[in-house]
């Protein structure tokens, strides 16, 4: 409104998202100039498609972190949701609506187990989710014998494409199932967190749990909602991953939980709760995606990509801590 440009800049400067966006902008400009393949529509769609799985899970984990908890069992949840849904789809020939409903149902139920253990038994969320990760995953592989499902229903295998476009090399791309799901889940998460009172309660809970209790928030219900939402995203993510991989493997998803955590944390969410935005998570994810993509495009062996990811995480969290410390020192003087 009557804010001067300098004020606006001061305000922006304090936002984590501003710095992330700046780094990404520099990266994008550099890669656009330095490489041929980066600034193409196809590369853009490919990146969105391949990072959709991580992104959808990141949206769910963001909500959990904001509430002051943590969940790392979601990869096992996704594996179970995927397996049950595709097993039943093969047997009974379901349709799009019912496979998503089923996967979401499984995810929500497993999320509720986490919430009940965390809230009712008062065990810290990290311990509960380490335990349930092992329980869910162990039981899944035990029951299935670790067998892959290679044949998926043909309608599922084909996937969904809008605005399909086939280029000169006969490679088709467009708005596919993965991208659509990613957009929908980010939108729903944003609406939940910013446009509903429950979303604000989640922020409040993460900011000051005791105060939330005193004010009469229903903490149990919030916990149920948060962990079930994580389960829901795991259900959705599991299906689009199965569609992309054209198979279901009970053992490939588990182990990716810390990658998702890294993306959310890069996006500025705090493990202490109460802090984090959908925009930040999108940017955190974008930074990871563009950096890994860019390294390959400028000819760095893909074997080294993980090293750079680690380096970026370490630099980012150190920079955040240092600037927080400077802010604290400033307060002391005044």
């Amino acid at each position: 409104m009557h804010e001067s440009r300098a004020d606006l800049f001061q305000r922006l400067k304090r936002r984590h998202e501003f710095w992330l966006a700046s780094v990404i902008a520099i990266l994008v400009i550099f890669l656009s100039v330095a490489t041929q393949g980066f600034l193409t529509l196809q590369n853009f769609f490919d990146l969105l498609t391949s990072y959709a799985f991580l992104g959808i899970l990141a949206a769910g984990l963001l909500v959990v972190l904001i509430s002051g908890g943590i969940d790392i069992s979601f990869t096992a949840t996704a594996s179970i949701a995927q397996y049950i849904t595709m097993l039943l789809a093969n047997k009974y020939g379901l349709d799009w609506f019912s496979v998503f409903a089923l996967a979401i149902l499984v995810g929500v139920l497993l999320g509720a187990i986490n919430a009940i253990l965390i809230d009712r038994l008062q065990i810290s969320s990290i311990i509960v989710s380490i335990a349930t990760l092992n329980i869910f995953y162990g039981l899944l592989v035990f029951v299935t014998g670790g067998k892959y499902i290679y044949s998926l229903p043909s309608w599922f295998g084909k996937g969904i494409y809008w605005f399909e476009y086939v280029d000169a090399d006969e490679i088709s791309y467009g708005l596919n199932l993965q991208i659509l799901a990613l957009l929908v889940m980010f939108t729903i998460t944003w609406l939940l967190l910013n446009r509903t009172n429950i979303g604000r309660q989640i922020y409040a809970l993460g900011g000051n749990r005791e105060a939330a209790q005193r004010l009469g928030f229903n903490v149990f219900r919030l916990n149920i909602l948060v962990y079930c939402y994580m389960g829901l995203t795991a259900g959705v993510a599991s299906l689009i991953q199965a569609q992309l991989a054209q198979s279901v493997a009970p053992t490939v998803l588990v182990g990716k939980e810390l990658d998702v955590l890294a993306a959310v944390v890069l996006g500025g969410a705090s493990l202490a709760g109460g802090v984090g935005t959908v925009l930040g998570t999108v940017l955190g994810l974008a930074l990871l995606a563009i950096m890994q993509n860019g390294l390959i495009l400028i000819g760095v062996s893909s074997y080294w990509s993980q090293f750079f990811v680690g380096l970026v995480i370490l630099l980012s969290v150190s920079a955040t801590a240092l600037s927080a410390r400077r802010k604290r020192k400033g307060n002391l003087v005044e």
Binding site: L121, N134, Y137, L271, W304, V309, I313, V317
Partner: protein, 344 residues
């Protein structure tokens, strides 16, 4: 004051009494011992004599040290109020360093150089661990970054180095004495078990009897108050992550010796299991509490379940599920007791 005279007297008898007392006066340990006895009884009935055979016991002793040493590395950081997610990647990078030197420099013929290069290789591995540990400790203690984020970063970076250097390949074919660490026995006791004992005892002494150990517990509960008491808490935290990293290197050595090879992504599924083992053993995930005796009991419990399931031809994945269930159950006991109105 409840200091029993036997607790303070000297001599081997007293030491035994002290050990038993130390094990049982702690509520968590009492619970774990009851659980262990119950498990052994049930599995004994289900499996019979085979469960108590020398082969079974020896195979348990072969398997326990790997997870054991990694859990030690995790545990001391948990006690200090932190966490070290980089232990597995550190173990692998150190193992690769050692394996690289051993496969490229150790001459075929036994001799002075042959032994010398193996020792150099081990020290090189430890040096790599020291660098990683100091990096973790510096970022956590002096920059004030939360341990989970710091070690998430170093975990990814260290694994990235290992993958980048090896392109994901396996290095194998290690000298005889190294393989012996993983597969040999001394008087029937697996060498790896002796290595575990050799690292666990100094850690137990460090935690229980040294100023650094005492400070580690205090820091785990309240770093600031400990600093106000005149303790250089940053240096203690740096030391904790250095030790954790060195322990990871020893775990890497044992792993490499057992598989006779090294790779960037061995044993990754152990990462969260080490937290599970430590917490089951009475380590407070919020910091400040946890003893080696409890951790050892917890490791034995996990190993007994794993070995028994193996004998029963159950999948190792069922073992994972049961481990998780037991963790929840043990953590839930105090809360359920409280709800039922028992005083603890």
């Amino acid at each position: 004051m409840s200091h029993e005279p036997a607790y303070l007297s000297k001599g081997p008898d007293a030491a035994l009494v002290r050990l038993i007392k130390g094990l049982t006066h702690d509520v968590t340990n009492r619970r774990l011992i009851i659980l262990l006895v119950a498990l052994v009884a049930v599995f004994g009935l289900l499996i019979g004599e085979r469960f108590f055979s020398q082969a079974t016991v020896q195979s348990m002793a072969f398997q326990l040290p790997e997870l054991g040493i990694l859990s030690l590395a995790m545990m001391i950081t948990l006690v200090s109020g932190g966490l070290n997610l980089a232990i597995i990647s550190t173990a692998n990078l150190c193992a690769l360093t050692m394996a690289y030197i051993m496969t490229s420099h150790v001459p075929g013929a036994e001799g002075f150089m042959w032994a010398g290069w193996q020792i150099i290789a081990i020290f090189a591995g430890l040096a790599v661990a020291a660098v990683i540990g100091l990096l973790n400790g510096f970022v956590i203690a002096y920059l004030g970054v939360s341990p989970i984020l710091t070690t998430l970063g170093t975990m990814t970076m260290v694994k990235g180095i290992a993958i980048g250097m090896t392109r994901g390949n396996v290095l194998s074919g290690l000298p005889e004495p190294i393989v012996f660490i993983g597969n040999g026995t001394v008087y029937g006791i697996p060498t790896a078990m002796l290595v575990f004992a050799a690292v666990a005892s100094p850690i137990a002494i460090m935690l229980g009897r040294t100023p650094t150990g005492a400070a580690t517990y205090m820091i785990g509960s309240n770093e600031k108050a400990t600093r106000y008491s005149g303790i250089d808490t940053k240096r203690v935290i740096l030391r904790v992550y250095l030790i954790s990293s060195l322990l990871a290197a020893v775990a890497g050595l044992v792993m490499m010796a057992r598989f006779n090879s090294a790779n960037a992504s061995y044993a990754e599924s152990y990462l969260l299991v080490t937290i599970l083992a430590a917490v089951l053993g009475g380590v407070d995930p919020m910091g400040g509490f946890g003893k080696i005796a409890g951790l050892v009991l917890s490791l034995i419990i996990l190993q007994v379940i794993s070995s028994a399931f193996n004998l029963l031809n159950f999948s190792q994945f069922l073992t994972l599920a049961i481990w998780g269930t037991i963790l929840v159950a043990v953590m839930a006991v105090p809360n359920i007791r409280k709800r039922l109105g028992f005083a603890d």
